[in-house]
């Protein structure tokens, strides 16, 4: 396609005005790029709307930035710092681990070892391309190895150990099958012979690697000119307890370790026990060494913790039996931090208007926008537009159109891709979204902003349905706020998560984005408190407050979610693995944890479809004086939003429903509902208990989007239009349309102090029209 490639990311994504923000940039094909700071006002280039609009902003930024090509190293592994070199130059030794392989690879996979690939030095225990367990040693000149003869079965727990005696040069590899009724994909009814024990005299004694290699779990050390030292021969699968002895163990000792006995002290160099350090709040990236030297391992690219271990016996979660949660899942394609060098640090002016900005880079006819979302230094406006940055991360770099065979059936579209998508996908080094699967089929539970994210570009359209999604879609609401002349601040999920209700309090009204799907407990609490203290929320989205999402307090760049049980889930966590490692809480749907979105904003997810969006029609409640002001300027029979940039309507894509049984406040009034959805809008799976035909839009009354209004304590209120497509209808007809009229009616009322219009009408009699 093109020889020049510009990629980059910002850290943080959500700086305050007056703060510094780092831009990490990689450019191929040019040593410099033209840089301009721009305010993004509208993204969608659809000619039916206002088109792409940006405003150049003068800030202290050189017009040309010197740049270079930067590289990303994908794959998760753990590394032992080993400053004293206790694991280097081992002569006689034993390496052992409980292993749960998940995927064969056409190269070696390292379980553990200190091995330099380009120098052929050190030692390593791993799995070869045939699936055999193998120990290899090298002295820089010769490499020798020993391997078992039958392949490990994927998704089954084994104990593997390899020992080497430098005097006799005898090497042994032991594989002991640890499958029980609970821990593996297969059970004990399978008559497979998992055990193996081979012995052989090698001709090479491993030599010390020095700085050429590190002692790694799930990786060996590679080196090349461009990348320097990096992890390779990555492992796919789980590892549990593991360790190193400085002597060759006998069979009895091996068997004792396999059965989970505490390791004997004699000659023990290290014993990594991933269950140590698990607290009720989860666990971090350190794998503790309980051996004599305390050589802890540090995970890179977030090996997935709190996974079931070899000794798991069906405990619901790690809270019940933490000692059975030693599983650490490694993936060759995991990425939570590109670790690029900072190319430019931009000092944002203190008086910079709050909004969505981007560093626009241009070179050789190629352009990229690296977005940032700038919050004011102190809140100024009455309106706070809460941009769902958790959602942005959850969908970051999604591969659905490219990899999920069911994606076209879900969206009922043929995907529309662009050359930029292909360029990005060809590189395949910027990680996955929480909608994608790792190469071994496991779902991806982490997503981070410390990497270039193509789906965060203002002009980006989600290929699956050919309309903007997440940030580019939210820009439609932002454009309309500009158009309608409202003064607003923007803030992000990350701010709400970090500050709770304090982030929302300064505002008279908070606007949700089109798809506020990923919520942490802090965000739920903050929103609920805000509403109960008189705050007002305009929930202008679909499928919000849905997934229980977590984040480490000190690492805002990375969110975690586990998809399980019910809901429209791109993957399904394995049994027992539904809790977030970063917080210790159970993930899945908020509704499964007693906090259905209906309890806060009155609506919750009910159907999705992307073929065509429809319109809303007024419901009888909208004529009640308590809320009829919302419909000022709207005819009784008027179709509300039979237009839009998201599939041609204001009601569509993902729809939310009023349901008292799920916690919609009993005082909620049903203002309008959508009509006419096709069967490509099926009822969502969490609503399906018994499966029977006819749950599509033409046959099931629960397939609809609702528009509701209710008041909360102290003059608070919620207006909710349960449809992703709502905000993308706003820019139609130059921003003057009935969706805009309703939005304006609400905004005008909500930004005023004091009582809400219509609040005096609390009686039932004689009040109809």
């Amino acid at each position: 396609m093109t020889n020049t490639r510009i990629l980059g990311y910002s850290d943080p994504l959500n700086p305050k005005a007056g703060a510094d923000v780092d831009f990490m940039i990689s450019v191929e094909g040019s040593n410099e790029v033209d840089a301009k700071f721009v305010r993004l006002i509208h993204g969608d280039q659809n000619p039916d709307g206002p088109g792409f609009i940006e405003e150049e902003i003068e800030v202290d930024l050189p017009s040309v930035l010197a740049v270079k090509r930067q590289y990303t190293k994908i794959g998760s592994f753990a590394q032992c710092a080993d400053p004293d070199g206790k694991l280097d130059g081992l002569q006689s030794f034993t390496l052992f681990a409980h292993v749960y392989p998940t995927q064969r690879k056409n190269e070696r996979q390292t379980i553990m070892g200190r091995w330099t690939i380009d120098r052929n030095k050190g030692y390593g225990l791993g799995i070869d391309p045939e699936g055999h367990v193998s120990l290899w040693v090298g002295d820089g000149k010769n490499v020798d190895h020993i391997a078992t003869e039958i392949p490990l079965i994927p998704h089954a727990w084994y104990f593997v150990a390899a020992s080497f005696d430098a005097i006799t040069k005898k090497a042994s590899v032991h594989v002991i099958n640890c499958v029980n009724s609970w821990n593996s994909r297969i059970s004990t009814v399978v008559p497979f012979e998992g055990d193996s024990w081979v012995e052989e005299e090698l001709r090479t004694v491993p030599s010390a690697t020095g700085g050429d290699a590190d002692f790694n779990m799930a990786a060996a050390t590679a080196w090349n000119q461009q990348l320097g030292k990096y992890a390779a021969f990555l492992f796919n699968g789980k590892l549990d307890r593991s360790g190193v002895y400085e002597r060759a163990l006998g069979r009895d000792e091996i068997k004792a370790l396999a059965s989970g006995d505490a390791p004997s002290e004699k000659g023990l160099l290290a014993y990594w026990n991933p269950t140590v350090g698990i607290s009720r709040k989860g666990i971090g990236d350190v794998i503790i060494d309980t051996g004599p030297h305390g050589m802890d391992m540090l995970g890179t690219n977030r090996p997935v913790r709190l996974m079931t271990g070899y000794n798991w016996l069906g405990a619901d979660s790690f809270h019940m039996a933490p000692e059975t949660y030693g599983g650490v899942h490694f993936h060759e394609d995991a990425l939570t931090d590109s670790k690029w060098e900072v190319s430019h640090t931009l000092a944002l002016p203190k008086n910079l208007k709050s909004g969505v900005y981007a560093l626009r880079l241009r070179a050789e006819g190629v352009e990229d926008h690296i977005p940032i979302i700038v919050r004011p230094e102190t809140p100024r406006a009455k309106i706070g537009f809460l941009l769902p940055t958790f959602t942005y991360l959850a969908y970051a770099n999604e591969h659905l159109s490219y990899e999920a065979p069911i994606a076209q059936a879900i969206v009922a579209h043929t995907p529309v891709i662009t050359a930029e998508d292909i360029e990005f996908k060809k590189l395949e080094e910027f990680g996955l979204s929480t909608y994608d699967h790792h190469t071994d089929g496991a779902g991806c539970c982490y997503s981070s902003w410390r990497r270039p994210i193509v789906s965060l570009r203002p002009k980006y359209r989600m290929p699956a349905m050919n309309f903007p999604w997440a940030l580019p879609a939210d820009l439609s609401l932002l454009w309309w706020l500009e158009h309608a002349g409202y003064d607003y601040d923007v803030l992000t999920d990350h701010d709400l998560h970090a500050e709770g209700v304090d982030a929302l309090k300064p505002y008279k009204v908070i606007l949700n984005g089109t798809h506020p799907e990923y919520y942490s407990e802090e965000m739920m609490d903050g929103t609920e408190e805000y509403l109960s203290q008189g705050g007002r929320v305009m929930y202008l989205g679909g499928n919000g407050y849905y997934w229980v999402t977590g984040m480490r307090a000190d690492e805002p760049h990375c969110i975690e979610v586990r998809k399980l049980d019910a809901g429209s889930r791109a993957w399904q966590a394995e049994p027992g693995e539904g809790h977030l490692a970063c917080t210790g809480e159970r993930s899945g749907l908020w509704r499964s944890r007693g906090r259905a979105p209906q309890k806060i904003v009155g609506l919750g997810f009910t159907a999705e479809g992307m073929d065509a969006s429809e319109h809303f029609e007024r419901m009888p409640d909208s004529f009640h004086k308590r809320c009829s002001w919302i419909m000022n300027g709207i005819g009784d029979e008027e179709k509300i939003g039979d237009f839009g940039l998201a599939a041609g309507g204001a009601a569509g894509v993902e729809l939310d429903r009023y349901d008292l049984a799920l916690g919609t406040p009993p005082n909620a009034q049903l203002l309008a509902s959508s009509w006419g959805h096709s069967d490509n809008y099926p009822l969502v799976s969490e609503e399906v208990t018994y499966a029977f035909p006819g749950r599509g839009g033409t046959q099931d009354a629960q397939v609809r989007g609702d528009m509701i209004y209710f008041t909360t304590p102290s003059d608070g209120a919620v207006f909710a239009a349960g449809s992703i497509a709502w905000s993308q209808a706003l820019p139609c007809n130059g921003g003057e349309n009935n969706v805009g009229t309703i939005t304006r009616n609400i905004l005008d009322a909500f930004i005023k102090d004091g009582t809400l219009p219509g609040s005096q009408y609390t009686g039932d009699e004689k009040l109809w029209r």
């Binding site: 024990w197 076209q408 529309v416 395949e428 065509a612």
Partner: protein, 509 residues
């Protein structure tokens, strides 16, 4: 489509011998001394039906070599005197041919100077023995040295001249040797021969049974040694580096690109072989206690060539089998007279006509023939995307796939009946949104297809409403391919174009 309702029984009892190693006792694997190689190559697998570990010899050639050479060693002492001689000659020629195979097969040098080098080695050793009194054990060294020197000379043009020309050159070289020896003044009285050569066979045992047996023993050891040389050269570093260069298409260029100096490797192989052939020459003159110019003759060379062709080029077992056949006919059926040469020629003709690579290659040839027949038989009974047949089902790890094939076959057959002009028109009018039941079913089937080759639309950089049809690769990182170059100016036209492509695929399936 006619359904073939006859089911064939699939499955067999394997005739291979399997061992079932216990997982809780050590499997100790031995290596050849001073190498990292194992004595035997084993192959293990978990039997997909029983899940038991099965361990079998993966390379059974050591077994067959031991069996056949052992049988030769054990039975020869019980044979008649003339047969012992034939066996000894067989061993000697087999040794020569095994080495020759290295030159032609491994090094890829088409040399016909093999016998000439043997002859020069023989003459050098015999001459030194007769005129300078070199004791017989040193004759091996003398022959080897002479072979090495001649080999080094002959090797030089081998990288310069291509196959046929080099063959002619080496043939000419043999002829020159013959003429040279005949014209040597000293050998004039004996017509070019040297006789009364010292030998490892005591003078008075010569042509006696113990002498014959000793001769056989020597030739047998010679064969073993040349097999060892073959093994070491062919399968170790030298042979490995030459393997790449042997590829027919671009092999040499590729080898060079990845840094293999295949010319040097070829020279080494040629020189090592020449040295060994010289040693055999020394042995030859001792075995017969004489040597004559006939060793340089063309008929002898062609006989040797027949052995290699019949056995199959490039493999030691081919060289040995070919030698056995030809020697048996040529020396063992003397009563047939000149007919036996015709017989050899006939066999050679047959082998070249009907086999790909001599007799040693028959096994592979038969296997590929059987596979071909098998797939032909399958092809006759099946259709593209049709149901899985019992003999195919053994190749499916996930048996659910077998059901999917059946289901999709029948689903497609049904959906084909739904495709009408009206249905296509309905889609053209509105590719998205509510559709008739029939169109919904057809579309849903299309949308659920696998990712590989699944159609998509690509927006062109020239404009927002400029689209082309592409198809996904189904592989992470591999970009989609362009289906055709037509540009659609309306997204609905592009959707409909994809629909028509899919309808076409469905009707063709």
């Amino acid at each position: 489509m006619a359904q073939d309702t006859k089911y064939y029984q699939v499955g067999q009892r394997p005739h291979e011998i399997f061992f079932h190693p216990a997982g809780d006792s050590p499997m100790r694997r031995r290596r050849l001394p001073f190498t990292r190689r194992h004595l035997l190559k084993w192959r293990s697998r978990a039997n997909p039906k029983s899940l038991r570990q099965e361990r079998a010899l993966s390379d059974k050639r050591p077994f067959w070599w031991t069996l056949s050479l052992g049988a030769l060693l054990v039975t020869t002492p019980f044979l008649s005197n003339s047969m012992i001689t034939i066996v000894a000659i067989f061993c000697m020629f087999a040794a020569i041919n095994v080495l020759w195979t290295l030159v032609i097969g491994t090094a890829g040098i088409f040399s016909l100077a093999t016998l000439a080098i043997v002859g020069i080695g023989g003459y050098a050793a015999a001459g030194l023995n007769v005129w300078l009194g070199l004791p017989w054990p040193l004759m091996f060294a003398a022959g080897g040295l002479a072979g090495l020197i001649v080999g080094a000379f002959l090797a030089l043009p081998s990288t310069r001249l291509d196959g046929l020309y080099y063959a002619l050159l080496t043939m000419g070289f043999a002829e020159i040797c013959r003429v040279f020896v005949i014209q040597l003044k000293v050998l004039g009285p004996t017509n070019g021969s040297i006789s009364s050569v010292g030998s490892f066979i005591p003078q008075d045992w010569f042509l006696q049974r113990p002498g014959l047996l000793l001769g056989f023993g020597g030739a047998f050891i010679l064969l073993l040694m040349s097999l060892l040389v073959f093994r070491v050269v062919h399968s170790e570093r030298l042979g490995m580096s030459l393997q790449t260069a042997r590829e027919e298409v671009g092999g040499e260029a590729f080898a060079e690109t990845i840094g293999i100096d295949y010319r040097r490797a070829r020279l080494y192989v040629f020189m090592i072989t020449s040295g060994c052939l010289g040693i055999i020459g020394g042995f030859y003159s001792m075995f017969y206690m004489s040597i004559s110019p006939s060793i340089f003759s063309l008929d002898q060379l062609l006989l040797l060539f027949a052995m290699i062709v019949i056995g199959g080029l490039g493999r030691s077992e081919g060289a040995v089998i070919g030698t056995a056949i030809v020697v048996l006919i040529d020396k063992g059926m003397l009563e047939l007279g000149p007919l036996r040469i015709l017989l050899i020629a006939a066999i050679m003709l047959g082998v070249t006509l009907w086999t790909h690579n001599g007799i040693a290659g028959i096994r592979e040839q038969f296997r590929s023939y059987r596979n071909r027949k098998q797939s032909e038989a399958r092809a006759r009974r099946t259709e593209k995307g049709g149901e899985v047949m019992p003999e195919e089902a053994i190749e499916f790890t996930d048996k659910q796939e077998v059901y999917y094939r059946r289901f999709h076959k029948r689903l497609r057959d049904h959906l084909k009946t739904l495709i009408t002009e009206e249905l296509i028109e309905e889609h053209r009018r509105a590719p998205l949104g509510k559709h008739s039941d029939a169109l919904n079913r057809v579309l849903n089937f299309f949308r659920r297809g696998e990712m590989a080759d699944k159609y998509a639309i690509m927006r062109q950089p020239e404009g927002f409403h400029k689209y082309k049809v592409v198809a996904f690769s189904g592989e992470r990182g591999a970009p989609p391919r362009l289906v055709d170059n037509k540009i659609y100016e309306n997204i609905n036209d592009a959707y409909h174009a994809v629909f028509l492509l899919r309808v076409n695929d469905l009707l063709e399936s």
